[in-house]
Chain length 476, copies 2
């Protein structure tokens, strides 16, 4: 059942006002990872709650307590919950999104102010932090609600909303809320939910819409090597003491090879070989080595074989070295021997099982160094891997909606990133979870000059609305 034509017309007729609302949302720098912006995250939560209320949604703001970040004791941003519709004959869809964003400063390399939405006339790009991750998709749902309210149309399903403000910083507090509400069964906030839809990932390329049935998960490690009681002058202490940086760099060099092979024994072996059926999915994907190279902006694909690169993204574990805390990081030439340095790296896929492998391997490699420095290993946070049943009616609805709006069959993908809440919903509610992305593979979430194509915002809004009608048709 496609969406009614007046819904589609309303979306096409209100593009400018939808973009204006996205501009308002982007203008609030709701950076959850920087304590100085915590008030802005709260402000964004209130803004979102007000929007939902005005569109007829019954809302509540749920206090998630406090946490300590970088030594600062801070209040957690609230979960903004909402409900609209209560017809027992209709299916109930739970919508998740996050209203916080990654940090961004113009000096990072942005061409424009990151918190001022720029509409590029020639390219149709909507440029600004959060445009695609994840304010654009959230506003897609607001657009759908507005169309139904203004047109006096009944929604084809009951909707339940759960929006959080800490997704970019480990979703602190949310798991507890979901599991405790889920434990209340039909009396809990999520009582009666039949399926979940999350729009917080991206197409595989820049052309083909996709629906996503798997996430790699994440385990984030911090290796700290400490030696002297304070930073030392390399001229005075060089070659007289064990230098923490020397040890740390050696340890970090033992984690991953330039071709992506993970050197921690056992990690690469944890993923079984792809089945013939799964391989046929990769073969069918609209993808070329050029796509990853265009998205990365350089000819640096790890292989010239399409399947190898796709499996690298979708099913193989990956290990990335992110940086070092405590060492000299500025421009110029400081001759310091840092007293304590922490290497940060993350492993995607199988995060639950990798911790003991990482710890014992790093400890044994450190022992080989014969250093008098001290080593500490922490698993900072993680998101479990997740795979969904893509033959479920929830996926069928999303596939039909994509075909209706985009006139193509969507790619069926597994995603490299992690959205920890996905698995929490699946496990604690026991319902099917669908990832239905709005943006393209080159949107640059977490990067400079993050953008959402205007066409993705508008057609994506139609997609979300149409998806609800397809779910509604199933229950009819």
């Amino acid at each position: 059942m496609p969406a009614p034509s007046q819904f589609i017309s309303y979306i096409d007729s209100n593009v400018d006002s939808f973009i204006k609302r996205l501009g308002e949302a982007v203008a609030i720098p709701s950076i959850s990872g920087n304590g100085a912006h915590r008030q802005d995250v709260f402000k964004m939560g209130s803004w979102l709650q007000n929007q939902l209320s005005a569109l007829g949604v019954q809302t509540k703001s749920v206090d998630l307590g406090r946490h300590v970040m970088d030594g600062q004791d801070l209040p957690l941003p609230p979960a903004i919950l909402g409900k609209i519709g209560n017809d027992p004959k209709k299916k109930t869809v739970l919508i998740y999104g996050h209203y916080d964003v990654q940090p961004a400063e113009k000096s990072d390399g942005w061409n424009t102010e990151p918190f001022s939405l720029v509409v590029e006339k020639e390219t149709g790009l909507l440029i600004g932090r959060g445009s695609t991750d994840d304010k654009g998709p959230i506003l897609g749902w607001l657009n759908v609600l507005e169309a139904h309210q203004k047109l006096g149309l009944e929604l084809p399903v009951n909707l339940c909303f759960c929006f959080e403000g800490m997704e970019e910083s480990g979703s602190e507090g949310l798991d507890e809320l979901i599991t405790s509400e889920a434990a209340k069964g039909k009396d809990g906030w999520f009582g009666g939910v039949d399926c979940v839809c999350i729009s917080d990932n991206y197409w595989l390329n820049t052309r083909t819409p996709c629906v996503t049935y798997g996430l790699r998960g994440l385990a984030y490690f911090k290796l700290t090597v400490s030696g002297p009681a304070r930073d030392l002058h390399s001229g005075v202490f060089g070659r007289t003491v064990h230098e923490p940086m020397t040890d740390l760099i050696l340890l970090m060099s033992k984690l991953v090879a330039p071709d992506g092979t993970i050197l921690v024994p056992g990690v690469d072996d944890m993923v079984s070989a792809a089945s013939a059926e799964e391989k046929s999915i990769y073969d069918a994907l609209d993808y070329d080595i050029k796509d990853v190279e265009e998205a990365a902006g350089a000819r640096i694909a790890i292989s010239s074989d399409k399947a190898t690169v796709l499996m690298g993204r979708m099913r193989s574990p990956s290990l990335s070295l992110h940086g070092i805390e405590g060492a000299f990081y500025g421009a110029g030439a400081k001759t310091v021997i840092p007293a304590s340095v922490s290497g940060k790296f993350s492993i995607r896929r199988t995060p639950e099982k990798v911790e003991p492998l990482v710890i014992s391997y790093v400890q044994s490699e450190f022992a080989k160094l014969n250093s008098k420095n001290k080593l500490n290993i922490e698993n900072l946070h993680g998101g479990k891997p997740w795979v969904s049943d893509y033959k479920h009616w929830n996926y069928e609805a999303a596939i039909k909606a994509t075909e209706a709006v985009y006139k193509v069959k969507p790619d069926l993908t597994r995603e490299g990133g992690s959205i920890p809440v996905t698995l929490t919903f699946a496990e604690s509610l026991g319902v099917n979870v669908l990832l239905l992305p709005m943006g393209r593979g080159d949107d640059g979430a977490h990067s400079t000059n993050e953008k959402l194509d205007k066409s993705n915002f508008i057609e994506g809004t139609k997609l979300l609305g149409t998806y609800l009608y397809e779910v509604g048709a199933i229950s009819a």
Copy 2:
């Protein structure tokens, strides 16, 4: 010829006012390595020039032009030159010092505000950035001048001063000034100079004064590995592209072993074995493994053999890894794949000859990685190594002065750090250069909680004055 007793008495009677003046100097945050503080460096230069003028020194401030630092076009701080005395029967001593300091912020781990001199009553420590490097020693000379002015005493030598404001940032502009003035012979600013005295290094330990006759020199390298056009999300791009951090960390791990052995072929071989005479100097030094471990604040000496550690500091090349520019360096858990990362490291000793060895080795190691990323190697700056004739009368004067003030024979040391101007003076003026330190081995120059012991400030002032009398006695 010891200094007159009224000079010694004057120093002992004016401790508080000397410390007050040091406090004024420390309060000016003359950080040369941060463009935002460039005006403070100028302010410190003016302060110093005014002090010298008030003490009867004929001064001039020499413009050294402009330079570009971190993309900013900035005026270089001036050289503050001075002269007092013009008696052809006296020797002329050239005094060098620097009035700029290393960066410091309380958040780096200082217990007190770095630019507010704290006088610790119990310990006698004078704590603040620049207290020992190099404002304390410069103020030692001002104290000597003040005593002679106030007492109406004639100086035993002619003095020529050369103070710079860029020592912590490569001494830009100074070499050109020295060589061009030196080229003018006796008509140049340094005409008639018989020897040079620099007080800008430290005792080997916390007990025994030293005079220093050698410096290791420095070559500072920046290895840049670049790949994607912008930072990437590791969830989306992990194991699909060559990651610059993976390559850089591997390259950095091939430079130095945990025991300090330099892995760049040929570098360790460039230093000949120590002669029997030189070995006897190391044996005679008042030094214990405990000294380096106390100064470092941890039991991390690279060897339990005294000679190995001393040779590591004084004559072996050393390679220290300082940090990475461009990677994630903050607290927390950012999952970025940085687009371009630069590893910083320096090699002490033989810097002139190491560049081609480093470049060809790093390039060949990079080729082995089979990476599609790009490598760039820069030699950011360097200071040549220097060894002086420690049997020269300039050293004899310093040794006698030390014995007169401290009642012990000084250690004869070679220093790990670099003071690039040392070699420039030696080569362009053709006179003996002496390093006569004021501070102790645990002062923490370049580190947090930098300090100068009050006794070192006061006895050090006496030492500098007495040294001038010993030089004067030679010429008599």
